[in-house]
Symmetry: C2
Subunit: 425 residues, 2 copies
Amino acid sequence: MKIYRYPVKDTWTELVKRPVFEREEISGLIAEIFAEVENKGDKALIGFNKKFDKAETKSIAVTEEEINNAENELSNDLKKAIQQAKDNIFKFHDSQNPEIQKIETTKGVVCWRENRAIEKVGIYIPGGTAPLFSTVLMLAVPANIAGCEEIILCTPPDKNGAVNPAILYTAKLCGVSKIFKTGGAQAVAAMTLGTESIPQVYKIFGPGNQFVVAAKEYAQRYGVAIDMPAGPSEVLVIANEQAVPEFCAADLLSQAEHGSDSQVIFLTTDLKVFNETISAVEQQIKDLSRNEMAGKALENSCFILLNSLEEAVEFSNLYAPEHLILAMDEFEKYIPMIQNAGSVFLGNYSCESAGDYASGTNHTLPTNAYAKNYSGVSLDSFVKKITFQHLSKRGLQNLGKTIKVMAEAEGLLAHKNAVSIRLKK
Amino acid sequence: MKIYRYPVKDTWTELVKRPVFEREEISGLIAEIFAEVENKGDKALIGFNKKFDKAETKSIAVTEEEINNAENELSNDLKKAIQQAKDNIFKFHDSQNPEIQKIETTKGVVCWRENRAIEKVGIYIPGGTAPLFSTVLMLAVPANIAGCEEIILCTPPDKNGAVNPAILYTAKLCGVSKIFKTGGAQAVAAMTLGTESIPQVYKIFGPGNQFVVAAKEYAQRYGVAIDMPAGPSEVLVIANEQAVPEFCAADLLSQAEHGSDSQVIFLTTDLKVFNETISAVEQQIKDLSRNEMAGKALENSCFILLNSLEEAVEFSNLYAPEHLILAMDEFEKYIPMIQNAGSVFLGNYSCESAGDYASGTNHTLPTNAYAKNYSGVSLDSFVKKITFQHLSKRGLQNLGKTIKVMAEAEGLLAHKNAVSIRLKK
């Protein structure tokens, strides 16, 4: 833990700096994987499953039988939980569907926007220790609301060539069209280029390790879009004297357990809360199954005592956290001051894990200070907003001179002519 | 012109292919320019002005005097035109400001989104033959509505070290905070890295040549966001027997005059309109000042006769044009079928130049088939949508079990603990 008491503002820029991770030079490897997938298709993917995931997979596509069997392997409690989370995520994301609003900008000139789904989207779900079926919910539910025709999912098989049943069950529940056993950069390559079984998509979503992140960057050269650039997960907690130190500690640790590179920052104006939160963290970490990982993350964490909540929000805006928790009863006043954050948790009962799973907001959020210029995933991420305009003859008459004068000033006479020829008629 | 009569669907994929432009290997040059700007700041920019733009510039910042003088150099007609265009762009983009909508997803759990401006944005306006003050309107007006604190603009100086007065006048009118004389990749580098006079920004907007495009791509490595990937401008016109061939020809030519790489596609179901539009293009091009450029663009243009309007829309969706014109009286029926397009112009009086300048819609649109996965610039491009959630104690009680069950199934016990510890209290 790094502990700072009333640091002067001059030092903040230093304090908000993320650790720079040595980016291994893997672009050559990524290019090779893309070439292999392009040339050999499914066969390449089966080979990579063996090589990287130690898995024998005869076919890449998950069978209907596998998907249907998954349901039996989940407890009723888990199925009910997934359903409630899905309902909330649905409600919140469905509310992001705008009414069409026609605006008459000049008499006879009407403009509006309409949403159209991105027709083909791909979801990547990493393997590893935690089967992230919650991320399936966060990506497939809005894709479904948007009306994406093809929603495919790639995830690496385990050593038995199987996919975690919670992932399969959730994918089916949320309308994923096809599921494939392939992971890492090769999964991204397959969704970018297409193979015999895996269809090409227009946009790729989902988290992953440095290979997946690099492959998503690389995929953009082929015209594919991606959800957002990635970095390690983060939380910043702002607490005043109304905060409960044990709650704060639990939130900080739930971030820290994500991985040893997780970013954890605690800001408070209250000395008692400051000291007690530090103690509570030290206490609670002992009982965690992932305490080694959390411990490593805590080494880089910052606990900072500040003079005022205004200062704390200012610091937070400079840092631009993925998750921001306002651990206090009276948070209303500080909402308008928040400028840069991915998702904000208000009050002592809004823990980050609520948003990670089930409050309804999306947990795919900008990290690494990208909250300054990117939004988290929402319904918008799965649609294009197309603009429409209709000019009546009268409308063009009302706007014609303006267009002609501007076109002429820009030296674009054919632009002017498109108006003149119509007004002459 | 390439002319096709009733091509079978199998051939469409070939027909919608954009020409692949040899991408010169310029990434080394871009890296050098970034390094030079990083090391020498303004001095580097002054050097580049001399080297690339043959301009002597003592200082990079445009002075207040230069800005104020610009007004005198514009005709009243042009000032009035710019004002009407600005008003329309303002009306349409201001209507994109959503009401905050609080959604109670579970009793006691309330979620919503709020827009926050991207604090610092940079606009690039190319130099060259056409002074694109219309692009200043398209980018600065929504930036202003969004509430971006710092809106800076970079544009190359002419040989006298001056900036076109229409650009200066429009920038001032639209609330641009600072204007700088620098162009090309070095302008993008300066906005990415900052110099003595030019502040660093979080997002860079605006068109440009291949060096600007490559520099914008490169800038993303520094955490800067960009408006969208770029390609040559395009129009696709769908006409039925209600279309006016001369109007269609004028629209096709107003696209063609943009540059020799412009993409122009004409689809119709009517043989008479087909033949007459081709004749009208050949006729009208003679009178154009930029006819050489337009002529080159037309060499690659496609004129295609199809069986039905449904087929034409299907073809258009496959191509995903930046601009789509429905040249007909009865267009309503085809709107829901449009899946991929940047901006759509409806009816015989909605010429593309209306949207280029003054209807109110944005002219910064996805090209090169990016209309399949990207939207054009809108108010959304200048904001982040931050999610907020508030759980009351009751709210967490209602959601607690779900979060705990899901966290446990993902093996994230600290996430579970953040709930348990609160519910125990």
